[in-house]
Structures are given as C-alpha cells and as structure tokens.
C-alpha cells in the first residue's frame, strides 16, 4: 500500500492544463495522448484503497480500485480519447481543455474511496461541463449553461448536506451501500439522482446538451449521468424505489423524444431513457442486474457518443439540427449515415451490436426476480427505443425527404472517430466476453440463444413496422415541449413580473400619498410661514443659546 500511485484523474487534469499552456502545434498531440496515458494508469490501479491524503484535517481516500470502478474509468478514458479525436481539429483549445477536465472529474469520481473525494470531483464535473455547454457560443448556449450550472450546483449542495450529516452522525464517510432511513441518506440519494437526470428534474439534460457545439455534445453525452449510475451502484444497490424511478425515466425519454424535432435533443432524451434502464438495474440489485447496469453504462457511452458524433458531423456540415429542415443526407454523407445507423441499431439492442449483450441482462434479471410488470414494461420500452432513437433519428436526418442539402462528408478526424466507435459497437456485440470479463461479478449469462435472438428481432422489427405505418402521425413540427423546466423558464419570470407589478403599484401608491401629504404641508408652510417657524422662536433666543454653547465649549477646552 505504500508504493506511489499516480491518481489517474490528476494525470488527466495535468494533461488538460498542459494543453491549455502549450503551443498550438502540440495541442492535438496532448489532447489525444492524455486519455491514452490515463487509460494505462487506470489499469495500474489495484483493488482496495490505494492512496490516502490529508484534506482539511480529514484522512481521505483518493484512489480506491475495484473491477467496477476500473470499468467505468476505462470507458470514461476511451470516451475522452474518441471525443478528442472527433474534436481536435474543429474545437477551440479551451473546449478541449474543459472537456478533458470534465472527463478527469468523472474518472476521479470512479476511483473516489470516500464521499469527500467523490464530492470534490463531482463539483469539478459540474464546473467544466458548464464550460463545455458555454462553448456552444450562442446566446441560447449561454442561457442554457447558466440554467445547467444552477441545477448542478443545487444538486451538489444537496449532496454536500447529506455527506456532512452522515459524517457528523456516523463518523464515517466511506463509500458503502446505504439504506434510505434518514434525512442524510435521502439527501445523498437526491443529490446523486439529480445528476442521473431523474424526475422531476430530468429536463436539465435535454435543455443544455443540444445547445453545445457539434463537438461538445459528444463529451456531454458521456460523463455526468454515468458517474451518477456508478454512484448509485456503489451507494444504493437494490433500493427498490430506483426501479420505479428508472421506469419513469425510460418512458419519459421515449415520449419526449417522439415529440421532439431537434435531432440532438432527440438523442438527449434518449440518454434519459437509457440511463433509466440502468437505474432499473440498480434497483433490482441482483448480481446479474448490477452487472447489467454496469455493462449497459459501458456500451451506452460508446453508442451514444457515436450517435452524437453522427449528429454533430451533420450539424457541423449543415449548421442545421432540426429534423424538419434535414433529410436525404445519405447521398453525400454516406459514412456519417452508416455510422449513425450502427449507433442506432446498437441503442436498439439489435443482435450483434453492443446494446444487445448489455440491456438484455437487465430485463433478464427482472424476469429472474419474477418482477412481471417490470419485465413487460422493459420489453415495451425496448421496442420504444427502436421507435424513438433507432429509426427516428436516422430516418429523419438521413432519409425522409430530400431537403436539397448536399453537405460534404465529415472531416477525416470525425470520420475516423466514428469508424472507431462503430467498430467498437459491433465488436462488443459479436464478442461479448470482451466486456463480460471486466464486469464486477462473474458472468454466466449467455446472450446469444436462438430464442433470444428471434424474439428480439420480432420485437424490434414489428416496432419498426409500427413506425412506418404511423409515419403520418409523426410529422415533425417546429415546436418545443413543455417540461418541469417551465417552472424556472416561464413560471419564475411570471412570478417576477407579478411581484414587480405589485411592488410598483405599492410604490406608486406610497409616493403618491407622500406627495399629496407633503405638498399640503409645504403649501401651508409657504403661504403662512410665520405661523410655524420664526413667530414662536425669536431670533434672540437662538443667539443666546448659541452663546451658552460656545461658552461651554471654551470652558471645556480650557480645563
């Protein structure tokens, strides 16, 4: 335990700072090398607590390793590499630097041995993800970034209240399975769930992510919600409430994505949907379910990044992200379209893609626990995923109608990143043991059985049939959908307007009243001044008193 371990998160932060300070020519190299070097160090972290430091008088566990933690840190580092590859020629250096710091926060949370360390890296993520949102560079991005930051700082505050309470009452800040039996654990639970985009505040995700730059969206899709999933696995495994929260998220994502017109907002809603599957897995809490949640987080990060890359490339080339203005892009962006379709198949859990081997573990665990309702809802949701993301995204962006747009294919670095992640999606689907070997518990689950493949194909293809049969109902409208964020985007301004009006009315009333009374007095004074002032106090009286006062002062000064 005494040997020196370099915390992987610090390495990533060092790379990000170096990138900011170095010459422009060196920046691409640093952006690409940092995640890979970090990945190497992630795999050097052994099991158990590896490093403790003293922070504000507390002995905190900076690095603690386990299969689960390494799995998440690995996919975060891979994601940082893929994102950097996708972005390094198009992004400004500050966006790359902020994205690496954001990834460093996620890796830091993955290895955090106690709640203090977790909280610090949690806030690092909130800070730099906000910067990544702001890198969208528009007025809308600025406003969305502020809303995003407020939600996450509030979430962090709630988390901190819980952590401090737990520390005072139990004296232990160890990361361990907690039960929801007092105020402190509830606070931690809520704080973590806010980052998972759980109800009622799921809206922050689809509000902020689509306002980022075409490159920034790729980074944003990966870290915040998945670190929350990891924290839920570590802190609240088997908490039954999570099953219902997760199911709500699953259907919330589908319904809102069906209503949405902006392609990156569709993908954002589908993040909530996919995280919902993971949250259900954590709620079921068996070894198979937790394996499923972890595996699904891993595969999800890769295919969702691929989808955001595909959408980002389209946005980068056309400057357009509304489905109603897109369509027919397969002609000139065939590779972007192909990679987008592979990502879409993976998110829909088509056989021989990565989603198939991970999501099925979660639904199987529900069946294994005889949770019939949960199982039937999850199966319906799987069909719904194909509907809202699997077909809707590629159909409306790359096919649908001919929008007349003939953009160039994506730049080479974007193409390379997409190919890499598309290969990963299929590779994990064909060789599931690559992933199964990394999971926290031993896996005896076999995804590829004839009946599983055939039932899944039936489910998905008939969902596809439903999509094309109901196409007239899905005509895109250029609208936004109301959500809970109405409360602070329209509700709060409304309250502000109303109270402003009330206060102004009150002020006008008071000034009016004061004016009237004052003018009355003033008139009286001006018209008959002698009756109020000098007539009753002659000048001589004042002179005498002044003389007395002066005498007293002189006397006092002399003594």
């Amino acid at each position: 335990m005494l040997e020196f371990v370099l915390p992987p998160a610090f390495l990533m932060m060092f790379g990000a700072v170096l990138l900011a300070l170095s010459r422009p020519a060196l920046r691409p190299l640093i952006a690409l090398a940092t995640p890979l070097v970090t990945l190497y160090f992630i795999w050097q972290v052994g099991d158990g607590v590896q490093q403790t430091v003293t922070f504000l008088g507390y002995e905190v566990q900076l690095v603690e390793g386990s299969n689960l933690r390494r799995l998440f840190a690995t996919v975060f580092a891979l994601m940082a590499f893929g994102g950097a590859l996708f972005a390094f020629r198009q992004s400004k250096w500050w966006e790359l630097s902020a994205a690496l710091l954001y990834a460093a926060g996620a890796i830091g949370v993955s290895f955090a041995g106690d709640l203090i360390v977790m909280f610090l890296f949690w806030e690092l993520m909130a800070l730099f993800s906000t910067v990544v949102v702001w890198c969208g560079g528009t007025e809308r991005a600025r406003a969305a970034g502020i809303r995003y930051a407020i939600i996450h700082l509030l979430g962090g505050l709630i988390l901190k209240i819980g952590i401090e309470g737990l520390m005072i009452q139990t004296g232990s800040i160890e990361i361990r399975a907690l039960t929801l039996d007092d105020f402190n654990t509830w606070m931690i639970f809520i704080g973590v769930l806010i980052n998972a985009a759980a109800p009622p505040v799921s809206a922050w995700l689809a509000d902020a992510y689509p306002e980022s730059s075409p490159m920034g969206g790729v980074f944003l899709s990966a870290f915040t919600t998945k670190t929350a999933v990891l924290s839920l696995i570590l802190l609240f495994p088997g908490q039954p409430l999570l099953i219902w929260i997760g199911l709500y998220m699953v259907f919330y994502g589908i319904i809102y994505a069906l209503l949405e017109n902006d392609m990156r907002r569709i993908l954002s809603y589908s993040i909530v949907n996919q995280v919902g599957f993971m949250v259900v897995g954590v709620g079921i809490g068996t070894e198979l379910a937790l394996n499923g949640a972890a595996a699904h987080a891993f595969t999800h990060i890769i295919y969702k990044a691929l989808l955001f890359m595909s959408a980002g490339a389209v946005l980068y080339r056309t400057g357009e992200s509304k489905c109603s203005n897109l369509g027919g892009l397969f002609r000139t962006m065939p590779l972007t379209a192909t990679c987008g379709i592979i990502g879409a198949l993976a998110i829909s859990s088509f056989p021989f893609t990565s989603g198939f081997i991970s999501k099925s573990m979660i639904s199987s665990s529900a069946a294994g626990e005889q949770l019939a309702l949960v199982w039937f809802l999850l199966v319906a949701a799987s069909a719904g995923v194909f509907l809202h993301a699997g077909i809707k995204f590629p159909w409306f962006v790359f096919f649908q109608k001919d929008s007349g747009l003939r953009p160039k294919e994506a730049p080479w670095n974007m193409r390379l990143a997409m190919i890499l992640f598309a290969v990963a999606c299929i590779g994990l689907g064909v060789f599931p043991n690559l992933l199964y070997g990394l999971l926290p518990y031993p896996v005896d689950y076999v995804p590829y059985t004839a009946d599983h493949v055939i039932t899944q194909l039936q489910l998905l293809l008939f969902a596809g049939l439903a999509f094309f049969v109901l196409l007239p109902l899905m005509k895109r409208t250029d609208t936004v959908s109301l959500d809970v964020d109405w409360l602070w985007r329209r509700g709060l301004p409304w309250v502000m307007e109303r109270s402003d009006r009330a206060i102004t009315g009150l002020r006008n009333l008071t000034t009016g009243l004061a004016g009237t009374v004052g003018r009355l007095l003033y008139d009286l004074m001006r018209e008959k001044p002698y009756r109020y002032f000098s007539s009753r106090s002659p000048m001589g009286q004042t002179a005498i008193w002044m003389a007395v006062l002066l005498a007293v002062v002189v006397l006092l000064a002399m003594t």
Partner: protein
C-alpha cells in the same frame, strides 16, 4: 413544405428513393417480418411468464405497445407543444422610476 428548392441536384433521383425500390423494400421487409414469426415454430422460446412463449407474442406486443406510445405522445403533444420561440421572452418589468418620473 417550405423546403421546395429551385435547383434539382443530379442525385435527387437516387436509386434508393425511387418508388420501385421502395416497393421492393416493403416486400423484403414484410418477408423478414414473416420469417421472424414463422421462425418461432422451429425455435422453442423459453418464456418467463407463459404468455411470452406464444408464437408471435413479441411481434404483437412490440407493435401494439409502439402504437400506444405514438398515440399517447401525439395526444400529449396537443397539451405540451409550444412554438419554438416560446421561451425566448424577456420578463416584462415595470419601467424604471428614475426614467419614468421626470415629469415632476
């Protein structure tokens, strides 16, 4: 509707979008759908709850739940959908008194 561009690029009539191709694609798609259901005759499905062992259960369940979700979303859309600039409004505050009351 408003996207009718004047110029017609050479690849507007791509082979993939010709009505003939689309008709063929529908037939192929239909055949694959049928195959997945017929395949269940030969592959015994180990269901968890009984009903999910029925032939074509996933097909019907997948189709119907999707129809339900689309219809539900459509209905919800009538309540939830707003014009795209719905949130782009500044709060209308009262005029600043220092600017408004210089008539005194």
């Amino acid at each position: 509707m408003s996207e009718q561009r004047e110029r017609r690029p050479a690849d507007a009539d791509h082979w993939l979008v010709r009505p003939k191709t689309i008709r063929i694609l529908w037939w192929v798609f239909g055949a694959i759908l049928a195959l997945t259901v017929i395949g269940q005759v030969f592959v015994h499905v180990h269901g968890y709850f009984g009903i999910d062992e029925w032939i074509g259960f996933n097909a019907i369940y997948g189709f119907l739940t999707c129809v339900a979700m689309v219809v539900f979303a459509k209905l919800l859309g009538f309540v939830l959908k707003r014009p795209v600039d719905y949130y782009d409004v500044e709060p209308r505050l009262s005029p600043n008194p220092s600017e408004a009351h210089d008539d005194a």
